[in-house]
């Protein structure tokens, strides 16, 4: 067969090396850790955590130069975009992952786990997240989702001899793979409607087809359901409490913060770029997810006796708040931009306060050997500093001024109220009622730590390590900064998507 070689000539893609520098640095660090592991085997164990932490910080350097440069970069036919939104999300992912490394340092070393491989997988997962922040086509989003999920499935099962960890891993894996298969079916329909995997083209095609086409509706339902699983929104939340409880606690913190944020990134990008014109389909869906998550999450959290399960249900309720602005994001006239900024602000603050709470839980559980709420009683008597820190994080999660969580909730309510939609007001009312309920169980846990007496009168001081202290410090500073000086800090999370003409 005579093939005309000229017509088949391969066009080398233009590669903007500066634009993908963060991913390249991360890739280099991951490869370095794998190499160090292969060459030095067990002797490398003391340095891999430090290597991973430094690598994550080094990845932030090109992020800063890109932010200083400030131009939106569109690469590979629009499949990969570097804009304000992606830079801020990448920074959130990297900082959260750095705190998770700090939290893991002693936990993983003491537990006799496979340490070098643990950090390798962690970096691979972070790479998936960083990629997700820039991905603007279906293939990139799918691969980024799997790259961040598959190492996470394995890390949940990392406590190999613990049956609960095994079960949590298998459960998370099966539900995650099923959810991504359903989501893929939705993606295949979007491709069928538009003939392209680029979100921009899909947005044009969906707008042309109109949301009345049944396959468009079906595709949106499948995709939103798939990502609702990832961010653990009700009714796709059932895996979260079990997995959070069974997984090693630093991995739980990673899932609760970074993995959830990555799900939100994909959801935001898909909804606001690929099918903004079909808002009559996804707005009611998101509304139901938000209201159900807030209510169910808080109701069940009220009767939890295990702190990690309590945090899981509180996380489900927080998901409801985070997703709420999207329920009114489809009215044009800047409503999408406002909702986007509100969600990103919430994600940043939530990452800080939730990681902080998990840091305290890890420290205290190391002493008491249990995560039951009763074993946290009387912590003030032997660890006053930690108790104060925990109280700050819990009250921030509840949304009490002047802590960061207050500003996050304020932004959400502002978006809901200014949309001028009756449904927006109703959702704001649901959120307000739920904030009060949430305060009850957060305050109950704090009261137990301050007022009750320690079980068995054990007042021995808590062993504290530098890495845990610095993790607490980072989380505390960010939580307070957003609460005390919101106007100063919120500039960073007031972002736009390049595709929205920002």
């Amino acid at each position: 067969m005579a093939v005309d070689l000229l017509t088949l000539a391969f066009q080398r893609p233009h590669i903007d090396w500066h634009g993908i520098a963060p991913e390249l640095v991360l890739l280099g660090v991951g490869a370095l850790i794998t190499l160090v592991d292969i060459v030095f085997l067990e002797k490398a164990r003391p340095i891999t955590a430090a290597l991973a932490g430094l690598g994550l910080l080094a990845t932030a350097v090109p992020l800063l130069t890109l932010a200083a440069d400030g131009t939106d970069r569109v690469m590979f036919d629009g499949a990969y975009v570097v804009d304000e939104f992606s830079l801020v999300m990448k920074a959130i992912f990297l900082l959260s992952a750095y705190v998770v490394v700090l939290l893991s340092t002693n936990y993983v070393a003491e537990g006799d786990y496979w340490e070098n491989e643990y950090y390798g997988l962690l970096l691979a997962s972070v790479m998936g997240m960083v990629m997700m922040a820039s991905a603007r086509d279906l293939v990139s989003i799918f691969v980024a989702l799997e790259l961040l999920s598959i190492p996470a499935y394995l890390m949940v099962a990392w406590r190999k001899r613990d049956l609960r960890s095994n079960e949590a891993g298998l459960k998370y894996y099966l539900m995650g793979v099923f959810a991504s298969a359903v989501m893929l079916y939705g993606m295949s329909l979007l491709y069928g409607v538009s003939g392209s995997t680029m979100l921009d083209d899909i947005g044009t095609a969906v707008a042309a087809a109109g949301s009345s086409v049944p396959v468009v509706t079906m595709a949106i339902v499948f995709i939103v359901a798939g990502f609702a699983f990832k961010v653990s929104a009700v009714p796709f939340h059932t895996w979260a409490p079990d997995v959070y409880e069974g997984a090693p606690t630093p991995v739980t913190a990673f899932l609760a913060v970074a993995s959830k944020a990555a799900g939100f990134v994909a959801l935001l990008v898909l909804v606001l770029v690929a099918f903004p014109s079909a808002s009559d389909v996804w707005e009611p869906l998101v509304w139901i997810l938000a209201a159900a998550s807030m209510t169910v999450g808080n109701m069940v959290a009220l009767r939890q006796t295990n702190v990690v399960r309590l945090m899981a249900y509180s996380g489900i309720a927080q998901t409801g708040f985070m997703i709420a602005p999207l329920a009114v994001a489809g009215h044009g006239g800047g409503s999408a931009d406002q909702a986007l900024s509100a969600v990103v602000t919430y994600l940043a603050i939530y990452a800080a306060m939730n990681l902080g709470a998990f840091a305290v839980i890890i420290v205290l559980a190391r002493k008491t050997g249990s995560a039951e709420t009763t074993s946290f009683a009387g912590a003030f008597h032997y660890a006053p500093g930690l108790t104060v820190a925990m109280t700050i994080f819990l009250f921030s999660l509840a949304g009490i001024p002047p802590l960061g969580g207050w500003f996050a909730k304020f932004e959400v309510f502002r978006v809901l109220a200014t949309a001028g939609e009756p449904w927006g007001y109703v959702l704001a009312a649901v959120g307000a009622v739920n904030s009060v309920i949430a305060l009850y169980y957060y305050a109950a846990l704090a009261r137990r730590m301050w007022a009750d007496d320690a079980p068995d009168g054990d007042h021995a001081p808590v062993p504290m390590t530098p890495s845990l202290a610095s993790a607490l410090g980072i989380c505390g500073i960010v939580t307070l900064a957003f609460g005390v000086a919101p106007q100063l800090v919120a500039r960073f999370t007031d972002v736009t998507l390049a595709a929205l003409g920002g």
Partner: protein, 181 residues
């Protein structure tokens, strides 16, 4: 050139006889696949289920050839049938103490699952028929492997590189989790 077009008298994909042959081939494969898939999810023998899965996967590869996606079809045979099914068989072999666990599935649970399955199919079929009505797959020339690779190495280069990281991470993690220690 698809496999079918290479046959004598079928030089044009859209010629009448070729079209009939394609539809017959489609029907035979589709019926086989559906029967095999149904047997796969209902049989009690796990090894038989894996073999029925092979039939479905081979059918999918055949459909790819019919649609002119030869590279994907060959990949389907090599990766799915050649690697993934073998993995499944290894998994079955190493967990053979668990055979027969499915015997006790309550009939209510099956009924519920069946109803959900039927409902899902009904909704999907209605949506698809309504949206695409009688659109034809009318491809003049099947895609060449060169087109596929050009696309992978330009537009989709980032996910391509990411998949290599993914495979390495999955490999290392799976070994750590599965090995005895």
């Amino acid at each position: 050139m698809t496999a079918l077009a290479a046959l004598e008298g079928m030089d044009r994909l859209t010629s009448g006889e070729a079209l009939v042959a394609q539809n017959v081939a489609f029907a035979i494969m589709a019926i086989t696949m559906v029967v095999a898939a149904l047997r796969m999810v209902t049989t009690r023998n796990v090894v038989h289920a894996a073999l029925y899965l092979v039939v479905v996967l081979a059918g999918v590869a055949g459909q790819f050839l019919l649609l002119g996606a030869e590279f994907v079809g060959v990949t389907q045979v090599m990766v799915y049938i050649g690697a993934i099914v073998v993995l499944f068989l290894f998994g079955i072999m190493l967990t053979k103490g668990s055979f027969g666990e499915d015997d006790g599935v309550s009939s209510e649970k099956r009924l519920m699952a069946g109803l959900v399955g039927l409902l899902v199919f009904g909704v999907m079929a209605a949506a698809l028929v309504d949206s695409f009505e009688d659109a034809e797959v009318a491809r003049e020339a099947p895609s060449t492997t060169a087109e596929v690779s050009d696309s992978i190495f330009s537009t989709y280069i980032v996910p391509f590189e990411a998949v290599s990281v993914l495979l390495l991470a999955a490999l290392i993690g799976a070994i750590v989790v599965a090995r005895k220690d």
